[in-house]
C-alpha cells in the first residue's frame, strides 16, 4: 500500500466513460488503459509464509542431493577420500533438511501428514517423498561407506545418486510451480541455477577437509559449477525482463550480489591456487557461502515479486496481448 496513502485522495483512480457519467445512459466503449492499475498497490498474490528455515533448506537439500551423486560416483570410481567426505556431506544434508522443514511448518507436530498422500500434481508432496527416500538411501550409503571404505558401490549407491540428483533441483520446481511471477516465469532456468549451486556446495563441502591430491574432481566441479550457476543466472534474469527487478533490488539484490561475488571468488581461488590445501578450503568455504546467499536471494525475490501487484498484472496483460491469454 506504500505510496497510495500519499495520494491526494482516497481511492483515486481514473477511467473513461461518457459525458454525463451516468452508468445507465453511457454508450461509449471503454478504452483499455495504457498503464495497468492496481487496487491501492495491494498485492494480487500472497507472499510466501515461509520462514528463514526454507532458504537454508534449499541449501542443505542441494548439498545433500549433489553430494549423494558425488559420493556415489566417487564410490564407484574408487576415490575413497572424496567418497567419505561426500557421504558425510550428503548425510549432513539429509538430516538438516527435514529438521528445517518441520521447523518451518505452521503446525510442526503434524509433520508426518506430509507423507499422508502421494500427489503427483504437488512438487511439495513429491519432494517430501523424495527427501524421505533419498534420506534412507543416503543414510544407507553413508553407513556402508563407513563400514566398508573400500566398497565399490552397488544398488544403494545407485539409488542414492538417482534420488539425489532430482533432490538437488526439485526445490526449483517447487518454487517455480507457483503463482509468484518472478519464480514462475523463471521456471526454465531456475532448476539449472539450483543444480549448479548444489554441485558447487557439494564440491565446496568436500574441499573443506580433503587433501589436495585427492581434491582434483572437487576442484574442477567447484569451478565449473560456479561458472554454470552464474551463466544460468544471467540467462534467467535476461529472460525475465522487468520481473528481474525482484532479484536485483532490495534484500534479494544484495544477497544476489553477495552470491555472485562469493561464488566467483571461490571459483577463482580454486582455479588459481586450489592445489594448496588452505586455498582449497577457503575456496570451498566461499562456494558454500555463495550457495547459501544464492538461495536467500531467490527466496527474498519471491516475496518482493509477490508483493508487487504490477509484476503479476503486467506479466498477465502482456501474455493476453501476445497470446490472448494463458489458458
Amino acid at each position: 500500500m506504500s505510496g497510495d496513502v500519499d495520494r491526494a485522495v482516497a481511492g483515486r483512480d481514473t477511467y473513461v466513460h461518457g459525458e454525463r457519467g451516468h452508468p445507465r445512459t453511457r454508450e461509449e466503449r471503454m478504452v483499455p488503459r495504457e498503464q495497468p492499475t492496481t487496487y491501492y498497490g495491494r498485492p494480487v498474490v500472497k507472499p510466501p509464509v515461509w520462514k528463514p528455515e526454507i532458504p537454508f533448506y534449499f541449501f542443505f537439500g542441494g548439498l545433500a542431493g549433489a553430494s549423494a551423486v558425488m559420493a556415489s560416483v566417487a564410490t564407484f570410481l574408487g576415490r575413497p577420500k572424496l567418497a567419505r567426505r561426500a557421504w558425510i556431506g550428503a548425510f549432513v544434508g539429509v538430516t538438516a533438511s527435514p529438521a528445517l522443514l518441520v521447523s518451518d511448518l505452521g503446525m510442526p507436530s503434524r509433520f508426518l501428514n506430509m507423507l499422508r498422500v502421494f500427489k503427483v500434481t504437488s512438487p511439495m508432496s513429491l519432494g517430501a517423498w523424495l527427501l524421505a527416500a533419498n534420506g534412507g538411501a543416503t543414510t544407507l550409503g553413508a553407513a556402508l561407506n563407513l563400514a566398508q571404505p573400500d566398497r565399490r558401490g552397488g544398488a544403494p549407491e545407485v539409488a542414492a545418486a538417482a534420488l539425489g540428483a532430482p533432490l538437488a533441483t526439485y526445490t526449483a520446481v517447487l518454487i517455480c510451480n507457483t503463482a509468484v511471477p518472478a519464480w514462475s516465469e523463471a521456471r526454465a532456468e531456475m532448476p539449472f541455477v539450483f543444480g549448479a549451486s548444489a554441485a558447487a556446495s557439494a564440491a565446496g563441502a568436500a574441499l573443506l577437509s580433503v587433501s589436495p591430491e585427492d581434491a582434483a574432481p572437487a576442484r574442477r566441479l567447484g569451478v565449473a559449477a560456479a561458472v554454470v550457476e552464474e551463466a544460468a543466472t544471467v540467462v534467467m534474469h535476461k529472460r525475465l525482463g522487468p520481473l528481474a527487478s525482484a532479484y536485483e533490488e532490495g534484500k534479494a539484490g544484495r544477497f544476489g550480489k553477495a552470491a555472485r561475488v562469493l561464488s566467483l571468488a571461490g571459483a577463482a581461488a580454486l582455479a588459481a591456487g586450489g592445489h594448496r590445501r588452505s586455498v582449497a578450503a577457503a575456496g570451498g568455504s566461499l562456494l558454500l557461502a555463495g550457495s547459501v546467499c544464492k538461495r536467500w536471494s531467490v527466496f527474498k525475490a519471491g516475496f518482493q515479486s509477490a508483493e508487487d501487484p504490477l509484476q503479476t498484472v503486467r506479466t498477465q496483460r502482456e501474455r493476453i496481448a501476445l497470446e490472448g491469454g494463458g489458458a
Binding site: V5, V9, P23
Partner: protein, 869 residues
C-alpha cells in the same frame, strides 16, 4: 406529514418502491442506512425507473443512482420549492388530482399575509414570544371559535400533529372555494405566488446545484407523474434534523400532491425512520406531548375535563372526529375498573403538561440543576445528542442516573471517563451523581414487537434466555411499577391513586418473572364490550365499554391471533404481502389509497391500479386494505348532521383531515408557516438570498453560555467558521455506537473517527489524507482522521465557493473503536414543531493536526470564540 395528509408516518412501504417510475432519495442515504429496504430501489431501477440522489456527498446510495445531485446542506427547501415553481409555471401538475383531492381550491382568509408580503415572514408573527398566532392563516369564513385559544397547540403539538385542529368544517368542507383555481386568494394561487421566486437560477444560487441538473430532476419528476406514471420520494433525518425540518417534509408533500403521487402505487413519500422500532416509539410514544395513537397530551389549562379536551382537539369531521372514543378506550385500558363515566374515565389521572418537556429542554434544565433523576434506556445522549458536551456536563448535576444498556456506554461512564474529565472541567470526586448501570437484554433475548419505518409491526420471539442480571425493558418497567405500587399501597393521598389504580396485572413467566409481552400487545389491541379482542378501531366507543391501548394499533391481535407474528413467505402471497406481520392502520400498506382511484372510483390508469370501487359488490377493493370506509360510494354526499368520517364525501381520500383533503396549505398543525419557506440554518456562511429574514423566525434557540452559536450570515465574525459541516451515518455503525463500537466484527470495519473533505479544501487548509484534522465550532474542538475524496465537492453558492466538511457521528471514547464525538460541535437549535435538533447543517473551521489535550483544548475553543465576537 400528519399536517399534510392526516397521519404522521410513511405513506407507503418500501416494497412498493419497485413500482415507481422515478425515485428521488433526498435527505437520506438509503443504501447506507436502509440497505435491506434499498433492494426495492434497485428492483425499481432494474425495471427502468430513474433513481436520483440529492445529497451533499456522493455516497453508497449515489453509487447506485442514475444521477447524483450535490447540494449545500441546509438548502433543500429552496430545491424542492424550485420544483414546486417548475411544476406550477409549466402547468405540469396532475390537475384532476389536485383539484379533487387537495385544498388547492380553498380560499384563505383575507388577513393572511405571505412571506412575499412581509419580507420573509407570515402574518401573525409575535417576535417577542417567538411564535405565530394563526388566526390569519385560517380558511376564509372559518369561525375562529372559543376553542381556538385553548387548543392543545403551540408547545404541545405532537410530532404527528394531525391536521384540522379545531377547524370547524361544515360537512367536511370549507365554506369558500374556487373550483377553477383562479381566485388570487385560493390556495393554488397563493402557492404559486409564494414560490414564484424559486426559479432554477435561484436554486443554483442558493443550493449550488447547476441549473441544468436541477431542471433534469424537475423534468424527471414531472414526466414520471400523472395518470400512467408515479414517482416516489424517500427521506430520512437529512430532512428532519433542521430548524425547518418539518417544513422540508411539507415541501415534498406539496410536490407529491401537485404531481398526484400520494396514495398511489410507486408514489408516496417513504419516510425512512432508522431505528428498528422508532416508528413504534412515536405510535406508543416515548414523547412527552402525545399519547398512544397520536392523541395530544392534555395541557394544564385553567378549566379542564374530558369534554373540554375533546372539544379542543377533535374536529367534527374525519376519523379524528372519534377522538372521544379513542381517548376513553385508552383510559379504560390504563385504569380499567377505576375509570368510570362518573370520574371522566380517570381523565384527571393523566398528567398535564405545562411547558416544553422535550429532550433538549430537559437537558438544559439538568444543566441548570433543576433535575434530580434521569432514566436513559437504550440511548446514548453523551454521544448521540446535539451539544453532546453539554449533555455530559449536565449529567454531573443529577442526583441519580439510571442507564440501561449492554455495556458501560459513554452516558454511564461520564463521571470517570469522558472528555470533560480529561480536560479537567469535571472531576470525579466532585460529581455527586449516583449512577446505576443496569444490564439490558437484547432483542433476541425477549419477546416483543418492532414497528418499523413502514408502520409494520413485526413480532420477535425470544430465542435465548438473557444471562445473569440482564433484563428486558418490559421486565424493568413492570417490576419497577409493581414495587412502587407496593410502596404506596397504604397511601390515602389522592395523588397516588393514578399509580395505584393502574392496570398492572400482566401474567409473568419463568424464574425471572418476565411479563408476557403478548398480554401487553393484547391490551394495546383492545377489547370490546364482551372482552373479545377488537378487529379494528371502528367498534371503539366513548361509553367505557371498549378499551384500547392504542387505537391505531387496534386489529394487531384481531381474532385473538397475534397478527404481528405472521410469517407467511412473500412467495406465497401477493407482492403487497398483507399476511406478513401487520401494519397500522388496519393492515393498510399504502395509506390514502383511495387516491389511487379517481373521484368516480376508477383507477387513474390500468398501469397504476391499486384500490378501486367495485360497483357490483358495492365496496372498495384492490391490492390492499382500502383506506376508506369500505362501503362508502364514490358519489356519497354527507347529510347535514353527519359526524366524523361520515361527514366526508365519497371522493375525499384523506380521511383523517377535517376537510378530507390533503393540505397544500396548512392553516393548522404547524407552528412556523402554512407554506414551507427557504430559511438558512441557525449557522450558515450565507445570508438568505431570498428574504431579509435569515433563519426560521420561530425556531427554538437556547441562548446560554454553554450553548453559544457561531455568528451566521453576514454577522461579523461569521467568517471565523467559513465551512458548512454536516453529520451522517455509516452502514457499519449504529447511531451513537453503543451497539457497534463494542463489537469486534463491526468495530474493525470502521475503526476510527474520520472526516470527509474535498481535495480543494484539503489544499486550502493544508490537510493531508490519512492524517489528522481538528474541527472547531463555538462549542468544542474535535479531531478526526482525514479522508480526502472527490465524493465531496466544493459548491458555488451565492457567487462564491463553499466547502463542506462531512462528519460521521458514531464515535465516543469507549469501546473498541474510539474517537471524538461529532455532536460535540453542534448546538441546541431545534425545529419548533417537533423539537428535533439541527445537526445536518452548521458551520465550522478545520485545521490540520490533532487537537490539544487537557485544558488546552478549551483554550483553543475560547480563542475561536474570541475571534468570532
Amino acid at each position: 406529514m400528519g399536517t399534510s395528509f392526516g397521519r404522521g408516518g410513511a405513506t407507503t412501504f418500501q416494497q412498493d418502491l419497485q413500482n415507481s417510475d422515478c425515485i428521488v432519495i433526498m435527505g437520506s442515504n438509503m443504501a447506507e442506512c436502509h440497505p435491506v429496504g434499498f433492494q426495492w430501489v434497485i428492483e425499481a431501477r432494474e425495471r427502468g425507473a430513474k433513481v436520483i440522489h440529492v445529497d451533499p456527498r456522493f455516497t453508497r446510495t449515489s453509487a447506485m443512482a442514475d444521477l447524483h445531485v450535490p447540494l449545500r446542506a441546509g438548502s433543500d427547501i429552496a430545491f424542492l420549492g424550485g420544483i414546486v415553481n417548475y411544476i406550477l409555471e409549466n402547468g405540469r401538475e396532475f390537475r384532476p388530482y389536485v383539484q379533487a383531492y387537495t385544498n388547492a381550491r380553498t380560499i384563505v382568509s383575507d388577513d393572511f399575509r405571505d412571506t412575499e408580503d412581509l419580507e420573509g415572514v407570515f402574518s401573525g408573527l409575535d417576535r417577542v414570544g417567538k411564535k405565530y398566532e394563526r388566526e390569519s392563516w385560517q380558511y376564509k369564513g372559518m369561525e375562529v371559535g372559543a376553542s381556538a385559544g385553548e387548543r392543545e397547540h403551540g408547545e404541545a403539538e405532537g410530532e404527528q400533529a394531525h391536521g384540522a385542529h379545531g377547524g370547524e368544517l361544515h360537512h367536511g368542507e370549507p365554506p369558500e372555494e374556487d373550483e377553477t383555481l383562479r381566485d388570487p386568494r385560493c390556495v393554488f394561487q397563493l402557492l404559486k405566488r409564494h414560490y414564484s421566486r424559486y426559479t432554477p437560477e435561484m436554486v443554483e444560487r442558493i443550493c449550488g446545484v447547476p441549473r441544468e441538473t436541477f431542471l433534469e430532476v424537475a423534468e424527471a419528476l414531472c414526466e414520471n407523474s400523472g395518470r400512467e406514471r408515479t414517482s416516489a420520494f424517500c427521506y430520512a433525518v437529512g430532512w428532519t434534523q433542521h430548524t425547518v425540518g418539518v417544513q422540508y417534509i411539507r415541501t415534498a408533500a406539496i410536490v407529491q400532491l401537485l404531481l398526484g403521487n400520494i396514495g398511489r402505487p410507486g408514489g408516496g413519500i417513504m419516510a425512512l425512520r432508522g431505528h428498528a422500532s422508532i416508528q413504534g416509539s412515536t405510535d406508543i410514544p416515548t414523547l412527552f406531548n402525545i399519547l398512544p395513537g397520536y392523541l395530544p397530551m392534555p395541557h394544564a389549562h385553567e378549566r379542564t375535563s374530558l369534554d373540554l379536551y375533546v372539544d379542543r382537539n377533535a374536529p367534527p369531521t374525519g376519523f379524528w372526529g372519534n377522538t372521544r372514543a379513542y381517548m376513553v378506550s385508552l383510559l379504560k385500558a390504563w385504569w380499567r375498573g377505576a375509570a368510570t363515566a362518573e370520574n371522566d374515565f380517570c381523565f384527571d389521572y393523566l398528567p398535564r403538561i405545562d411547558k416544553d418537556h422535550s429532550h433538549y429542554r430537559t437537558v438544559a434544565d439538568m444543566a441548570d440543576n433543576k433535575l434530580e433523576g434521569y432514566f436513559v434506556m437504550g440511548e446514548n445522549p453523551a454521544v448521540g445528542s446535539a451539544n453532546s458536551k453539554l449533555q455530559r456536563l449536565a449529567l454531573a448535576n443529577l442526583k441519580w442516573l439510571v442507564v440501561r444498556d449492554f455495556n458501560e456506554i459513554e452516558t454511564a461512564s461520564f463521571w470517570h471517563d469522558s472528555p470533560e474529565i480529561e480536560s479537567g472541567e469535571l472531576r470525579s470526586e466532585e460529581i455527586g451523581t449516583e449512577v446505576f448501570l443496569m444490564p439490558a437484554a437484547a432483542h433476541s433475548e425477549k419477546d416483543g414487537s418492532f414497528t418499523n419505518t413502514q408502520r409494520l409491526l413485526q413480532w420477535h420471539h425470544k430465542a435465548v434466555e438473557p444471562k445473569e442480571d440482564q433484563r428486558s425493558e418490559l421486565w424493568f418497567m413492570y417490576h419497577l411499577g409493581r414495587r412502587i405500587k407496593e410502596k404506596l399501597a397504604e397511601s390515602e393521598d389522592p395523588r397516588d391513586r393514578p399509580i395505584l389504580d393502574l392496570t398492572w396485572d400482566y401474567p409473568t413467566v419463568g424464574p425471572d418473572q418476565e411479563p408476557s409481552a403478548e398480554a401487553v400487545l393484547k391490551e394495546i389491541n383492545g377489547y370490546d364490550a364482551d372482552g373479545e379482542p377488537l378487529p379494528d378501531y371502528l367498534p371503539l366507543k366513548d361509553d367505557g365499554s371498549t378499551s384500547c391501548g392504542c387505537w391505531i394499533y387496534a386489529g394487531c391481535f384481531a381474532d385473538g391471533v397475534n397478527q404481528t407474528a405472521r410469517r407467511k413467505p412473500g412467495g406465497e402471497q401477493s407482492w403487497v404481502a398483507p399476511e406478513w406481520a401487520w401494519a397500522w392502520p388496519m393492515n393498510r400498506r399504502i395509506i390514502y389509497n383511495r387516491a389511487s382511484a379517481d373521484p368516480d372510483g376508477e383507477p387513474w390508469s390500468e398501469r397504476k391500479r391499486y384500490v378501486w370501487w367495485d360497483a357490483e359488490e358495492e365496496e372498495w377493493t384492490g391490492e390492499d386494505v382500502p383506506d376508506f370506509s369500505p362501503e362508502k360510494r364514490p358519489d356519497y354526499i354527507p347529510p347535514e348532521d353527519a359526524k366524523a368520517q361520515d361527514a366526508l364525501r365519497g371522493d375525499e381520500p384523506f380521511i383523517m383531515q377535517g376537510d378530507g383533503r390533503a393540505w397544500l396549505y396548512a392553516p393548522n398543525g404547524i407552528v412556523d408557516g402554512p407554506f414551507p419557506t427557504h430559511y438558512e440554518p441557525q449557522e450558515s456562511p450565507f445570508s438568505n438570498p431570498l428574504y431579509p429574514q435569515q433563519a426560521n423566525p420561530v425556531r427554538e434557540q437556547y441562548q446560554r453560555r454553554d450553548n453559544p452559536y457561531n455568528p451566521t450570515g453576514d454577522e461579523p465574525g461569521a467568517d471565523v467558521f467559513p465551512f458548512v459541516m454536516t453529520t451522517y451515518r455509516l452502514t457499519e455503525h449504529h447511531t451513537a455506537g453503543a451497539m457497534t463500537r463494542t463489537l469486534p466484527y463491526l468495530a474493525e470495519l470502521q475503526p476510527e473517527m474520520f472526516c470527509e473533505i474535498s481535495p480543494e479544501l484539503a489544499r486550502e487548509r493544508g490537510l493531508r489524507h490519512g492524517e489528522w484534522a481538528t474541527i472547531v465550532s463555538s462549542r468544542a474542538a474535535i479531531e478526526a482522521r482525514v479522508m480526502v475524496t472527490e465524493r465531496v465537492k466544493p459548491l458555488t453558492v451565492d457567487g462564491r465557493t463553499v466547502h463542506q466538511v462531512g462528519l460521521p457521528y458514531h464515535w465516543g471514547n469507549r469501546g473498541m473503536a474510539k474517537g471524538d464525538s461529532a455532536n460535540d460541535l453542534f448546538p441546541f437549535a431545534l425545529d419548533p414543531n417537533v423539537h428535533i435538533q439541527e445537526v445536518k447543517a452548521a458551520t465550522c473551521d478545520i485545521v490540520p493536526g490533532r487537537r490539544p489535550r487537557g485544558p488546552e483544548r478549551l483554550d483553543l475553543v475560547e480563542s475561536y470564540r474570541e475571534r468570532a465576537r
